[in-house]
Amino acid sequence: MIGLLAIDWAFIVEKLILIVSIVSISLVIAMYETYAERKVAAVMQDRRGPNRAGPFGILQPLADGLKLFMKEEIIPNTSNKFLFVLGPCMAMLTAMMTSAVIPWGGKIHFTLFGQDRWVNLQIADINIGILYIFGVVSMGVYGIMIGGWASNNKFSLMAAMRGASQVISYELPMGISLIALLMLTGSLKMSTIVAGQIDSWYYVLYQPLGFFIFLVCAFAECNRTPFDLPEAENELNFGYHQEYSSMKLGFYLFAEYINMFISSAVMVTLFWGGYDIPFISDAALAEKVGYNWLAVLEGLSMFIKVAIFIFAFMWVRWTIPRFRYDQLMNLGWKTLIPLSLINMIITALLVLLKENGWRF
């Protein structure tokens, strides 16, 4: 009994509320990303986009979801049933798990039973934040691989191989470009990385090339155009989710949009100051409006930055045609990896020089 009382129950409740809200927010955002994608595609092609379901078509994602739920669910006869169901689950799970270490805002302060409480707007501030993200993101390959394998269809399998090799190849330059960043931050902890950018220069100014490589790799990791070869619905027979129907297909597509949201959030956190409000001293603002409002404003600033990135994702998708597979591999192995290595070495040299007081 005493043991139960010793547990900080308020802490558990806080974290639960945070987890539920962040998961549901990312789901809602993914939903409206599909709407935004169609709208962006439409305006870039001189069309109107969905505008029938509700005012300006804002109920369109709900209608799409309902449609996917209503569709007949087909599981191929020769497929491995267990893995066939596991595939989309893995894709969704890995997409959702990454959001755990991203700081979404500053601290919220309130008094509970006469106790001052500070709540971080971050589910888990673990000291290996970036490593965790990398670990979870590379698990995303399993969603693709299992889906393609379990379908028991040679085209699905080939597409899954294609997708897996793409994702694995682009993880390398992504990781190497991050090493350069980590040499500057000196920490893998997401909150420390953001703290280093608050009221100072954003890391994108120190690492423009690193950011660019990271951006290109993020496009490839999210299977977005110009690197959407795993999907390639119009040229290469759709890809690993060819045999999927109904909400299982929906899960794959949905996971892709969540991935887009999370990778935008990661890019904002690592390179664009995270939840920092640009051009304004956050500490000074806190004295004016109080910490809770500051946290809200910071969260808002984070979401605006993320939204800009999501728009960039869509903008690129509706501009650039798809790469050919050999071009994709050439770009990954022959261009991005050497570039990121050069970037890493130069950064290492500069960091070393700075520590030596700019003397050799």
Partner: protein, 190 residues
């Protein structure tokens, strides 16, 4: 041979320069183009709310006309059915009984008048063939339907609303096509 336009250019097969091989400049150009399109005026007409003006010679659904007192003009002569190249029109004639003078203008009338809208090619030959100005093509088109039989339009679908009982609907259905004056104009021009 002289080219039709002066815009033809020989294909450029020069190897790409370093800048071109980076693609970045060209990608930036492409993205600038798509961004410009965001702010362009859209050509779309949001159909049910906004309707496009039909051309003055647009040929739509047939309408069976009435005269000013609301009597049906059609005498079931069958000329429209004969003229119809798609054989879409069927009719059955009947004789007007005493006491029905307020319903039908002539002694003979169409008891059944059907146009199969799936067959109809909207050529307007029925309108030209009609000696009584009873059938003419309006400015509407056939709405969608779930079944084929829904496209066989009977008299109740084709007949114009009564000009006395429902003058508003009558004028709307009449449009600016076969007004009472138009038939006179047609007669005078002949």
């Amino acid at each position: 041979m002289q080219s039709l336009t002066n815009r033809a250019r020989p294909v450029d097969r020069k190897p790409m320069t370093a800048l071109e091989r980076l693609y970045l400049w060209n990608i930036a150009k492409g993205m600038w183009i798509t961004l410009k399109h965001v702010f362009k005026k859209k050509a779309t007409i949001s159909y049910p709310e906004q309707k496009r003006e039909f051309s003055p010679v647009f040929r739509g659904l047939q309408i069976l006309n009435r005269d000013e007192e609301g009597r049906e003009r059609c005498t079931a002569c069958g000329l429209c059915a004969v003229a119809c190249p798609a054989e879409a029109i069927t009719m059955e004639a009947a004789e007007r009984q005493p006491g029905e003078e307020h319903l039908y203008r002539e002694e003979k009338y169409a008891a059944k008048y059907e146009i199969n809208m799936l067959r109809c090619i909207f050529c307007g030959l029925c309108e030209e063939a009609c000696p009584k100005d009873a059938v003419y093509l309006s400015e509407t088109f056939a709405p969608s339907n779930y079944q084929r039989k829904g496209f066989i339009y009977g008299k109740e679908d084709l007949l114009i609303p009564h000009p006395k009982e429902d003058p508003e609907a009558y004028r709307k259905a009449l449009g600016n096509r076969a007004t009472g004056n138009a038939s006179q104009e047609k007669a005078s021009s002949n």
